[in-house]
């Protein structure tokens, strides 16, 4: 068990000599508490697998430190780190039985058979693999093999953390949910730190207590699923999380107030606009946009006139695509509300409208 502390991690796969290296990880600072469940979420190529491999010791970072509790493990080989990893494609030792597969890490570390047998049986029971212990591992289905990979991590009592590198990629959809609940259950039962890499927001948001969103070699936000939804610190988070993602619209400074194509917009930001540098944008989730009720607030000054482009009726709600000037805006309208046909106007919920300067949120 350990608290994982990443300090100023940078990594480049190319050589650092001559010219500016191409960093896969630009700078990562993070503290992952012992026993937590974390998801590293981001699109392909954002550096999440690189980060995972650095933590597990398969890669040595170009710069920075990896600290487990108080021990600097940056240059320590994987086998000494007490880390387990489950890979994207199931890794099993084909020629061995399921039992031997699970016993492999223990036997390699010189445990006596009298310790190995009860431990393997215990883990097999937890993973519901008892019935196939005598089978050759190669004969199991993909989800069974993934359980073996996980089991090889769990059998070691000294494991500090288990890392998952998109472990459900090759699992049938109807088994994904089952395996994910199993993981969650094991996490609660054993209290092992779990770090889960994925590009699938549903997986990340349902599995983890803390989601670490990565983008282009940087951690852009770490937070609970609710925080990521309500308060994206970076436009990327807003866009990446949620379906459809946050609307990101260009903003301008109109005499100290925020404007969007001539309309004044109220946001949650209390910053003084005059001090802000860089490109201004506003972000508003489709859930927090509504049509103006013509009767009640026809004089609402912050309402934005729009043109309706398309309506997707998804049953419980409708996704409405509207246009103001050249900007496409998506909003979610509850099923029971009708969509105005004559000169529709929309308003943003000011508490949920965020202001961004150069893609980073302004409080």
């Amino acid at each position: 068990m350990a608290r994982i502390n990443l300090q100023q991690l940078k990594h480049s796969y190319g050589s650092t000599s001559g010219g500016e290296p191409d960093y896969a990880l630009k700078e990562i600072n993070a503290v992952w508490e012992d026993g937590g469940s974390y998801a590293l979420l981001g699109p392909s190529g954002c550096g999440k697998t690189t980060l995972l491999n650095i933590v597990s010791g398969l890669l040595v970072p170009s710069e920075g430190k990896v600290i487990f509790d108080d021990v600097d493990v940056t240059n320590m080989p994987t086998s000494e780190r007490n880390i387990a990893q489950v890979f994207q494609f199931p890794v099993v030792y084909d020629t061995m039985t399921v039992f031997d597969n699970l016993a492999f890490p223990l036997r390699n570390r010189g445990f006596a058979e009298s310790e190995v047998i009860p431990r393997v049986n215990e883990i097999a029971k937890m993973l519901e693999l008892e019935d196939s212990l005598k089978k050759r591992a190669a004969r199991l289905t993909a989800d069974g093999k993934q359980k073996i990979s996980l089991g090889r991590g769990l059998v070691r009592k000294d494991v500090s953390a288990i890392m998952f590198d998109e472990p459900l990629t090759v699992i049938d959809p109807h088994l994904k949910w089952k395996l994910r609940s199993k993981l969650k259950e094991l996490h609660q039962r054993l209290g092992i730190t779990m770090i889960y890499v994925t590009h699938d927001q549903t997986e990340a948001l349902t599995f983890a207590e803390q989601v670490v969103v990565m983008h282009d070699g940087l951690v852009v936000q770490t937070g609970t699923p609710v925080e990521l939804f309500e308060y994206p610190k970076h436009t990327f988070v807003g866009n990446f999380i949620g379906s459809p993602g946050m609307n990101i619209l260009p903003a301008e400074n109109i005499n100290g107030e925020i404007g969007f194509e001539g309309c004044l917009i109220k946001t949650s930001s209390k910053a003084d606009l005059q001090t802000l540098q860089g490109k201004l944008e506003i972000g508003i989730r489709p859930e927090f946009i509504s049509f103006v009720d013509e009767c009640s607030d026809s004089n609402n000054s912050s309402a934005i006139p729009v043109e309706i482009i398309r309506v997707n009726d998804l049953g419980k709600f409708k996704i409405v695509e509207v246009k103001h000037e050249q900007h496409l805006i998506k909003l979610i309208s509850p099923e029971q509300y009708s969509i105005p046909s004559l000169s529709p106007r929309i308003i943003f919920d000011p508490d949920k409208t965020r202001l961004y300067a150069d893609s980073w949120v302004v409080d």
Partner: protein
């Protein structure tokens, strides 16, 4: 479920293959079968002999001897080439500019015509002028492959190892590079030793290509003719007279077509049987 439909027209599309196979395999093979059950004294006069030639071959000490020599040769080169091939493949780089250099170097012996290989080794090993033969003798080792049976054997085996180990290397290398990195990473995490990585990951993953390598090397070495023919001509005496050299001596030297036909069929049957048994055993556990 897929419903199979019957369509006799399909035979039509197989005809070109049947014709091709008929001309390059079936008809020549049937000619041999034809010879093996008859005797001839020329002038296209044939007499029915039944299985007499087969009995003759199976009871002939000469056949037993060349068969044993053949087994010893094939066994020796397999024992050397397979482990050596795996070892070389393991030592080859997986990435970087040296990969192509190694691959080309490995492929070179395979590109040389077989009789040229025989001629090269003949000259290379000649005791008076060859680099190998002269050097060995200069070192005080009495080496003369044209007269000493052991020297002839060692030279023949060395030549085959030189010529064909590359094939095993290339196949084993192909098997090795196809193993995903995750396996090595998992092995590191599980604390596996290098030996365990070889035994539990690399060897099982190479099983299919090695099966092919062993089969190819078995069949080719069991049928070996050109290289020992050029190198030693089967001598000294009969010490390197392998099955096919013996067969050619009988068929073309003595013009004993019936005997040679029966021997060819027995020979063919042995290769087929061993290959089939081996392949079946190796693939028994594959899903």
């Amino acid at each position: 479920m897929i419903n199979k439909t019957t369509n006799q027209k399909a035979w039509f599309f197989v005809i070109p293959v049947i014709i091709l196979v008929a001309f390059n395999a079936l008809i020549p093979l049937m000619t041999v079968v034809n010879y093996s059950v008859q005797d001839t004294f020329g002038n296209n006069l044939f007499f029915w002999e039944g299985v007499k030639w087969f009995e003759d071959v199976l009871n002939s000490p000469r056949f037993h001897d060349s068969f044993l020599r053949q087994m010893a040769f094939t066994g020796t080169i397999l024992l050397i080439e397979i482990p050596l091939g795996i070892a070389v493949a393991l030592a080859m780089p997986r990435k970087g500019p040296w990969v192509s250099v190694c691959l080309i170097l490995m492929a070179l012996p395979l590109l040389i015509p077989w009789n040229v290989v025989g001629a090269m080794w003949n000259i290379f090993a000649l005791p008076d002028i060859g680099l190998l033969g002269y050097s060995l003798n200069a070192l005080g080792i009495d080496y003369n492959f044209t007269q000493g049976p052991i020297a002839a054997w060692i030279t023949t085996v060395l030549m085959d190892v030189w010529h064909w180990t590359s094939l095993v290397v290339l196949l084993a290398y192909a098997g090795l590079v196809s193993i995903p990195d995750a396996y090595y990473q998992a092995a590191k995490i599980d604390g596996a030793s290098n030996w365990a990585v070889f035994w539990r990951i690399q060897l099982p993953k190479m099983k299919r290509v090695l099966t092919i390598a062993i089969l190819l090397r078995f069949m080719d070495s069991f049928n070996i003719y050109t290289e020992p023919f050029v190198l030693t001509g089967g001598g000294p005496g009969n010490t390197t007279t392998f099955l096919s050299i013996d067969l050619v001596k009988i068929a073309l030297g003595q013009f004993d077509l019936g005997h040679a036909g029966a021997m060819s069929l027995i020979y063919f049957f042995i290769v087929l049987l061993v290959s089939w048994v081996f392949y079946t055993l190796m693939m028994r556990n594959e899903t």
